[in-house]
């Protein structure tokens, strides 16, 4: 600072403007980032997807339950319930709740932790009732008329002591007594893995195919694109189904089946981009300098068409999630006891009448994820499009 001459510090006379210093022009990447961050739904979607991925891959480690452990005594437990308390002559209080769909009583503590199934006395099949003994007190569960009633010895109904959350199984359990939350997280893990890997496979095939077709041009291009045209008239979902039948269900085969089929759009877009870019001067320059076609393709053409490629990629992910859950729903996806959103939904449909809460979680999870990827795709498309803004 000492080498600045004193006159530089002199005050600018009034009325004379200081020379404006323009800020450095933002790069393309900075522009894209600025536009993307300005798009609120897209930002919320990114946050949601990141949280979902973290929860899906690390969440199961923090749970005492596993996705495959069954406990038939604690099947179809709801995530929240109405508790009752009974105090016997000795002053012992038992808290429990009634599962109105399977007529069982479950003991819980004051915080809502599950203690287990209460064993009742002999069922009276004719009167449709079952006695439960608590010390010297006897309660009668009367299921001759719906809704089920809990009667004291004098015939009056037991009063509930309020609603409580299920602290042991936060989302409840399914029909085999497995924890729904953990299965949900594992399902997310599998659905997301399938979607990401299959999309990546599609990406490589599509970029490779479209890149070659676009760069070579002429006859090669015509033949390759005719082939793509034929493939795109084939209903692709049918082919995923056929491939799944051939491979037998499983995680790897569903990735291969989805990954090998949906690259057509990507190939078309890459080809279109390359066709319009390859007559640019910088490509001619690279060719004169003796760059090989592979180098021109990977170093010059593909990086310049990255925008549409990324948008297609983000749009491929939700459709891969959708196809995977669709396959699992009709029983062609992952094998039990593994779970995915599709198989969780189809399991929940079986018990829809009695336990609708089992449908809520997988349905909400898949819908929210589809939302997030759709918003992110829209946001990216707007942000990457150089025609907008600037």
């Amino acid at each position: 600072m000492t080498d600045i001459s004193p006159e530089m510090w002199a005050k600018v006379p009034a009325g004379e403007k200081a020379a404006p210093i323009p800020p450095p022009a933002p790069t393309y990447g900075q522009e894209v980032r600025r536009r993307l961050w300005a798009n609120k739904p897209a930002v919320v979607s990114i946050v949601f997807i990141v949280l979902l991925v973290i929860a899906a891959f690390f969440g199961p480690y923090f749970s005492p339950h596993t996705y495959f452990k069954q406990d038939l005594k604690l099947a179809n437990i709801p995530p929240f319930f109405e508790t009752y308390a009974v105090t016997d002559g000795a002053g012992e209080t038992t808290r429990f709740f009634l599962n109105a769909s399977n007529f069982n009583l479950y003991e819980v503590d004051a915080e809502g932790n599950m203690l287990g199934l209460l064993r009742g006395g002999r069922k009276d099949m004719i009167k449709k009732s079952q006695p439960y003994e608590f010390g010297d007190q006897t309660l009668t569960l009367d299921y001759s008329k719906l809704p089920v009633r809990l009667l004291l010895e004098d015939g009056s109904e037991v009063r509930s002591s309020g609603w409580s959350w299920n602290r042991t199984y936060l989302f409840g359990t399914d029909q085999l007594g497995r924890d729904i939350l953990v299965r949900q997280l594992y399902g997310a893990q599998i659905s997301l893995t399938v979607a990401f890997v299959a999309t990546l496979v599609n990406f490589f095939i599509g970029v490779f195919y479209g890149g070659i077709a676009g760069y070579m041009g002429g006859k090669v291009d015509a033949v390759m694109m005719r082939f793509v045209e034929i493939i795109s008239t084939i209903p692709l979902t049918l082919y995923v189904v056929l491939l799944m039948v051939v491979f037998d269900s499983g995680l790897l085969s569903i990735i291969v089946a989805i990954g090998s089929v949906f690259w057509v759009d990507m190939a078309r877009i890459v080809r279109g981009q390359i066709l319009s870019l390859k007559s640019q001067d910088y490509v001619a320059a690279a060719r004169t300098m003796g760059a090989s076609p592979a180098r021109i393709l990977t170093r010059h053409l593909l990086p310049n068409s990255i925008g549409p490629i990324i948008v297609t990629l983000t749009m491929l992910i939700p459709s891969a999630i959708f196809i995977e859950s669709f396959m699992s729903f009709i029983g062609l996806g992952v094998t039990p006891p593994l779970a995915s959103w599709g198989s969780l939904t189809s399991e929940a449909v079986e018990t829809l009448r009695a336990y609708p809460h089992q449908l809520f979680f997988p349905a909400a999870a898949i819908s929210l994820t589809m939302f997030a990827f759709n918003f992110l795709g829209d946001g990216l498309r707007d942000a990457l499009d150089p025609r907008v803004g600037r």
């Binding site: 008239t233 082919y239 056929l242 039948v245 051939v246 009709i330 029983g331 829809l352 819908s367």
Partner: protein, 309 residues
């Protein structure tokens, strides 16, 4: 026009041949024969069965036989239900699938287009935001979620419609709603953006300057031009409605082809899987051809011969 249709039909035959070949060899790549089950068959019975269905021949001969039968529109017998042909399976399921599918297509056009027009004409006001909000929901929620949730709400909770089957006219509501939900949203979004673009065109200004009536401007100049992209997606719409029917027919227990297809997958009835796939593919290609011809009729600017080249 005529040469164009011929050309397209030729392309269709090539594609169909590719599909037949692909499905045939895919199904023959499945490990184990069609008669492998928990009950072991005596070798003589297995040999007799193989001879009856021509499975003892070399694979290329089986392939040629299959191709020959397809040419006479015979999809062969089912391996799981003796005496039932795939043709009769399809004939039994087709009316149901066609009914629900057609109703869904009608819903898509009759609801999607007007909703999109309303949204575009009221840009950024409440009708627009409402329609676009619902359309965003409809695009993101998978059809089987719509189906199961609507069963719970409308059939189990409210009891307005039956949970399954088509015995009652009210039984059509939920399957058609679940089938068309995504595409109604998609078409209304497409119509909105396309109409907004058309409204900015110079010829719209001209039409207004000529003092034409509002309705005439909107329908004759605006809608006709902005519906072209909508017509282009109708081909894929039909395709997706048909494949979407697998799950919907399964959920609502409708005895259509989609349910038949899912059943034959779980039964591993290979000839049925092959036959129904080929049938689907053929129907789809015919539909796409029809849509393309419709497109030409709507937009006289398109030259068919150029498109075919």
């Amino acid at each position: 026009m005529f040469t164009y249709i011929l050309n397209r039909l030729g392309m269709m035959l090539v594609t169909l041949w590719a599909i037949v070949t692909l499905t045939f060899f895919l199904m023959h790549a499945v490990p184990g024969g069609p008669f492998v089950s928990e009950r072991m068959l005596a070798p003589e019975i297995a040999a007799a069965l193989n001879a009856k269905y021509g499975l003892n021949l070399p694979i290329w001969e089986q392939y040629l036989n299959y191709l020959g039968r397809i040419l006479t529109f015979d999809l062969g017998p089912s391996f799981k239900y003796p005496g039932v042909s795939i043709n009769s399976m399809i004939a039994a399921g087709l009316p149901v699938t066609l009914q629900t599918g057609l109703l869904a297509v009608i819903c898509v056009v009759a609801l999607g287009v007007p909703l999109g027009v309303i949204a575009a004409l009221n840009r950024n006001r409440w009708p627009d935001t409402t329609v676009m909000f619902i359309a965003t929901l409809g695009v993101a929620i998978p059809s089987y979620v719509i189906a199961t949730v609507s069963i719970y709400v409308f059939a189990l909770r409210l009891g307005w419609v039956p949970t399954f089957g088509l015995d009652d006219w009210r039984g059509y509501f939920l399957p058609v709603f679940a089938l068309s939900g995504f595409w109604i949203s998609f078409v209304s979004r497409l119509t909105r953006s396309s109409l907004l673009e058309t409204l900015e065109q110079d010829y719209m200004v001209t039409a207004r300057a000529k003092g034409l009536r509002k309705g005439q401007i909107l329908f004759k100049h605006g809608l006709r031009n902005s519906l072209l992209p909508v017509v282009t997606v109708l081909g894929p719409v039909v395709a997706n409605l048909i494949t979407g029917s697998f799950v919907i027919e399964q959920i609502f227990a409708l005895p259509g082809i989609g349910r038949q297809f899912v059943l034959s997958i779980t039964n591993r009835d290979y000839t049925a899987i092959m036959g129904i796939t080929i049938f689907y593919a053929a129907i789809l290609m015919v539909m796409i051809l029809i849509v393309d011809l419709l497109y030409v009729w709507l937009d006289p600017r398109i030259k068919l011969t150029k498109a075919a080249a």
